[in-house]
């Protein structure tokens, strides 16, 4: 049977798995945003915490994905929940670090001017730091989401859903069509996400900065 035929025949199943896959990845991302963004902001206010917390995040990142998934099993059982939990833990670090760095890279002279004019700390955060850090943070979210979509395929290994199921089934039965029917949509999802988030980034970058970015890129070329 050729792949196209297989695909059309099993479309319903593939679509379901794709939807599951997206839900798993997005859930993990959403939870991670809830925790990591405020944490990242907090770290910029409490510098002494920054090093240890970011260090801890680094350590989590070094744990192999499969191992982390496995650690979740005794705690959360099998199925989607441990998968989302593991993905959540992975997503924490990049988002937190990007939030922290994004805010830190705002020009200190701007912060000083804002303070000198009489903005309170939270006003500086909302009116200045977050808008200026936004595209940086969004870039981090974009990368993280793409990676999560990749890793979500592993959810199947611990009984969760998603396109990993198809890949796993295909592997055990040595059915190439089955494997492809999982792998191709997964890759496609990742690409699509990257593209869409790229568009989103451009649309959401405050106008004043967008132009500076272009100038910076142009200048970089001219210097060479």
């Amino acid at each position: 049977m050729d792949f196209a035929e297989f695909f059309i025949n099993n479309f319903g199943r593939i679509a379901t798995r794709t939807a599951e896959h997206v839900v798993i990845a997005l859930s993990a991302l959403f939870l991670a945003l809830l925790v990591a963004v405020p944490l990242g902001i907090l770290l910029t206010r409490q510098e002494h915490l920054a090093k240890p917390v970011l260090g801890l995040g680094n350590i989590i990142m070094t744990i192999p994905s499969l191992a982390l998934l496995a650690f979740m099993l005794p705690v959360l059982g099998i199925g989607n929940r441990p998968a989302i939990a593991a993905l959540f833990l992975y997503a924490l670090m990049p988002i937190m670090r990007n939030t922290y760095t994004g805010i830190k890279q705002v020009q200190p002279s701007l912060i000083e001017a804002a303070r000198g004019m009489g903005l309170r700390d939270f006003q500086i955060l909302y009116q200045l730091e977050l808008p200026l850090a936004f595209s940086f943070i969004l870039a981090g979210i974009r990368t993280t989401l793409v990676i999560l979509i990749g890793w979500a395929t592993l959810a199947a290994f611990i009984g969760g859903g998603g396109l990993g199921q198809l890949i796993w089934a295909g592997l055990t039965n040595i059915n190439y069509n089955l494997i492809l029917s999982g792998a191709i949509p997964a890759a496609g999802l990742a690409l699509l996400t990257d593209l869409l988030m790229g568009r989103l980034e451009t649309i959401l970058t405050p106008r004043g900065i967008r132009k500076t970015r272009v100038k910076e890129v142009k200048n970089a070329f001219n210097k060479d």
Binding site: P206, G208, I209, K211
Partner: protein, 368 residues
């Protein structure tokens, strides 16, 4: 209007950044703080709006102790302009200017009118500039907007920390002029930090020179130039900027070196030749050790040309001044003796230079 009373700033590692700073600024006065790097000028400025907290002493604005106010409220009453990029890049010019009025919750109409009025004050058409972004402006335009932003809420006091330092010299001069103009219209009490002496001399009502955290001299530009307090101030201002009267300047500072001269033993024709080359009508006569002996003018030579004489034989005496004599003495001599020039000699009578009427005019022009 703004008073500093024994203000001190000592850091935990015992560096004393500002030491017993006391100063009273009158309403509408533009005071410039200037001094070498690390003298404490910026620290002093930042203690006014409490970006830096004094370790001792008090600062009063309109007889109110700034320590008793909420720092944030205090800052909203003070205009603040800094050197580096400070316009918020993600906001339009209009929004930037409106920053403090918005914090103070002014009505929209009032804010809009204020922004337009301020832009017009610096000849920037509101219709064109309101909705521009900082990245679309030149450095000079950005700093103008920075100043307007500081003025927007109509504060009585402005703090400016080397605001024109990052601009090219031409733009800098333009903005200095504009600031002076603006100051005529708005009459703010301004504390201005710079390290540029020319800028200070140009815009200040009073200049405060600082070193190692202390005030060395506080005076109007005129007084500073006339009577620098000590050698440090003299050096810092730069000799060439100081105003000195003719009786303080010495002859050797004003004279022309290498005046046209010739040894006494030479002949008349050689004398004529020398005069023609130097394009002068008088020649200073010297001996072989460059001792000044007298003067020969072209007419005398013409008269005696046919006779085979040496310069020595036809020269005449001439009044001279010493190198270290004042210019005033030289000019007095020129007047009293009705001469057009005065040779300058050293202690042993050796010719060093000449002071002509042209040189005197130059000198006067330099100090006008």
């Amino acid at each position: 209007m703004v008073s500093f009373v024994e203000v001190n700033k000592t850091y935990p590692n015992n560096t004393q950044a500002v030491d017993s700073f006391s100063l009273t600024m009158a309403k509408g006065e533009l005071v410039v703080l200037i001094g070498p790097s690390g003298c404490g000028k910026t620290t002093t400025l930042k203690m006014v709006n409490r970006l830096i907290q004094p370790t001792a002493g008090k600062i009063f604005i309109n007889d109110v102790d700034t320590d008793e106010l909420d720092p944030v409220e205090l800052r909203r009453q003070i205009g603040y302009v800094i050197q580096d990029i400070s316009l918020f890049p993600h906001q339009t010019v209009a929004r930037n200017i409106a920053t403090v009025p918005l914090l103070k919750k002014w009505p929209d109409g009032q804010i809009r009118d204020t922004v337009d009025r301020l832009l017009r004050m610096v000849d920037m058409d509101p219709a064109v500039f309101r909705n521009r972004y900082p990245s679309e402006l030149s450095g000079g335009q950005q700093q103008r907007i920075g100043v307007l932003r500081a003025l927007a809420a109509d504060p009585e006091v402005m703090l400016m920390d080397e605001p024109f330092g990052a601009l090219d010299p031409i733009t800098r001069v333009q903005l200095q002029d504009e600031l002076k103009n603006l100051q005529q219209k708005v009459n703010k009490t301004i504390l201005f930090v710079t390290h540029d002496m020319d800028e200070a001399l140009k815009i200040a009502d009073r200049i405060v020179i600082m070193k190692d955290g202390q005030i060395i001299q506080a005076a109007t530009p005129e007084d500073l130039l006339r009577q620098p307090a000590n050698d440090f101030v003299r050096t810092f201002i730069g000799e060439e900027r100081l105003i000195r009267k003719p009786d303080q300047v010495q002859a050797h500072e004003v004279m022309l070196r290498n005046p046209a001269c010739l040894e006494a033993g030479k002949g008349l024709r050689q004398g004529l030749e020398a005069m023609r080359e130097a394009r002068v009508d008088s020649l200073l006569i010297i001996d072989n050790r460059r001792q000044f002996l007298g003067v020969v003018d072209v007419n005398t030579i013409q008269t005696h040309l046919k006779q085979n004489k040496t310069l020595q034989e036809i020269m005449v005496d001439w009044p001279t001044v010493g190198e270290t004599d004042s210019v005033k003495t030289a000019v007095q001599l020129m007047v009293d003796q009705n001469v057009r020039f005065v040779p300058v000699v050293n202690d042993s009578g050796r010719l060093k230079g000449i002071i002509t009427r042209a040189r005197v005019v130059n000198f006067v022009l330099d100090y006008l």
